[in-house]
Symmetry: none
Subunit: 225 residues, 4 copies
DNA sequence: TATGAATGAGTATTCATTCAT
DNA sequence: GATGAATGAATACTCATTCAT
């Protein structure tokens, strides 16, 4: 897949349904799932889209023809994997937020707890997330829904912090919460090499940084400036 | 270039000299420079290493044989481009820090000025930096020197902030300065899609975020916690 | 094909089946045969493996991809040609021996008749045999089955002579028959430049030599020493 | 060197002088010798002409330009190596024959002694001889002088046997001696894989075969037929 | 629907030979 | 004479996509 972009219409949703050719039901739905699962497995093993449809065919016990019956191109199959992953992430993020809320009773607790839990979640999903992000750099069909997912994740994080908006300093609480979220995500993402220099910091530093990140956000949210 | 890693000895330096075949002087140095420049141009145009040696040959008016006279492989030519870029970045960072220092007279000025200037620098260098980072993910020959560059950049940034350590709160000033740098870089990098989801925020949000980033760091550095 | 050996497992059989990728039946078998035939034709024309897959593609009306569908490498295609040839040789040798036996009624007749017929057979097969032998020098996958073929040919030749063992002198008849075969083959092979200096003797000398070769073997087999 | 033949004029001599560009004397003769020696070394190491002029340049401390100053092509350099070898062979063969003659006092001794000594000589020279013979198959410039060398070797061998022509049976002694030589050489050559199937016989069989070869020749030379 | 055999454009790399210095 | 940097033609192999069955 050397061809880079090939953007298409201004589609905004990236779900398996929107990249796969026809809404599947019943028996053939199983084969659809097998091919997507096989592709995902290969992407995780390879750490990239460097897999062959031949391999998907064998791994998923699906004929190559079948793949093209469901997907217009290999590219779309990759998009389907990413779409699936995005959906799963969203689900997990919602659950995680609930856990965070349950464990917190103040701004001073919610921030570090959120950082910790979000970090763990991102770490687990990093392998595919990395690939989503890499592709989003040149593929609008991934970038657009990726942005939406990011927005929802932001909304969830902000919501958790805003639960204690009474403790916030300053006036524009939403703006502060949003900034805090952006910075938290960016910092975590970089540590997980989600598109970063790969200088995956020493675990030592990483642990330390998470603490400071929490402190920084807390200081920022509370300050009147 | 499907072969991923091929790490080698424990070389730590990535300079054109270490990936190119022989120390070049005089006349033939010109042709070396032309091929590296052509490769860089193509990498910038394509946004990736998806260029052909044939193209480098034409663009740089160098024979393919000549390229192999200087570089063991296309991979090494790419590394040379990155090495060049790393060197240039370092130079520019040092100059930028000087400017920042000159414009500042307090923690409250140095932080936002630094954020602003560093952001601008990174924005300009983003296209190649993105590729460096992508390659570093699987190529130790790029990752190692990349890490070193990152460390030097961190040292410079911390130094600028520590100039006003008298205004810091808390006790471990180095730790704080380091955390602040990491968070600043991560946030800027993400906005520039340096490996990120590509949801390059609206210019509006971006401007806003830089301001909040400065505020957050300032609040953090000053707080006693 | 600069890579010399690449031996593999301890496979002992070299048949098209063992170097080609999948047991072919029906329709696609035809294309397999076309590509092998094209390769053979080119090897005969060139007198060596210096042919291009591009040429095989055109000559055999097969796409390059198809070749790789059947053969892992050009090397394996060459091996398939050789395997085919080996099989054909074996067949012809068996038939030839039957003819020799039918025409003979004494040691004095069987030896020269065998020499004459074997010479003719080898002459006809020399072009490919030469290449088999050249490759066997560094390719175990050809050397091993080549050895086996040679052994079977020896067994057939000895058998023809031993039919008249009553006329043998000395005691160890098998040993004598074996020595006679080896010397006959070696002499014929050299005359056919099967790996020899190419000083393909004058037809005159060649004819003469065959007669003397027969005489020598006869004298040897009959002698009591 | 994929181009096969390119025969040229009807030159008949292959000496370094006839393939090298100018009769060398003095200082530059040394460099000529270095490049030929380097080429020979590489041919022995590789077992083939698969060496690079670059390698000859380094190994022999000669510039590539120098090689082309002496030789019209890489092919001619190879021919020079072979020519050298041929000359050396001839020298050694003459010496060997003297030794054989000195050790013999009857046909019954000269034949096995000659077989043994010639076998040893050929074994030692096999590596380059093999390459001479391989090249002779398509290169007249090597085939012609090779043939001459072979003729001289035949003459020497025949001479040794004819020393005892009084013990020969039959009438045409020259013819018999010639046939014996041809068969001896062919058999030895094949055992040494001089272009042969590579089924280098077990040392056991080899020893045995040499004995039988001697017996066979003896029986043949003595018989009246 | 489903299959998987067939297609063929596209590309990194090698190395004999030339020629400016 | 001597050098060795520059040249560029030549070639095996991959893999997304198609389409006959």
């Amino acid at each position: 897949m050397s061809t880079r972009a090939k953007p298409r219409s201004a589609e905004k949703k990236l779900a398996v349904d929107s990249v796969s050719r026809k809404p599947q039901q019943g028996r053939s739905k199983a084969s659809l799932e097998r091919m997507v699962a096989a592709a995902e497995k290969l992407m995780l093993e390879r750490g990239s889209e460097d897999f062959t449809l031949q391999e998907v065919s064998q791994e998923g016990s699906v004929s190559i023809g079948s793949i093209y019956l469901r997907f217009e191109s290999k590219e779309n199959l990759v998009r389907a994997v990413i779409a699936n992953h995005l959906k799963r992430m969203l689900q997990r993020e919602a659950e995680m937020i609930e856990r965070v809320k349950a464990q917190s009773h103040s701004l001073a607790t919610v921030v570090p707890v959120y950082v910790e839990n979000y970090a763990e979640l991102l770490r687990e999903e990093a392998p595919l997330l990395r690939q989503s992000m890499a592709r989003a750099a040149f593929d609008p069909l991934v970038a657009d829904p990726g942005r939406q997912s990011a927005n929802r994740a932001a909304a969830l994080g902000m919501e958790a912090m805003l639960e204690y908006r009474a403790e916030f300093g300053g006036s524009d609480h939403e703006r502060k919460a949003n900034a805090a979220y952006q910075i938290i995500f960016a910092t975590l993402a970089r540590q997980l090499s989600l598109g970063s220099t790969g200088e995956s910091v020493h675990p030592q530093d990483w642990k330390e940084l998470k603490i400071e990140l929490g402190r920084m956000c807390l200081a920022y949210l509370k300050t009147d400036i």
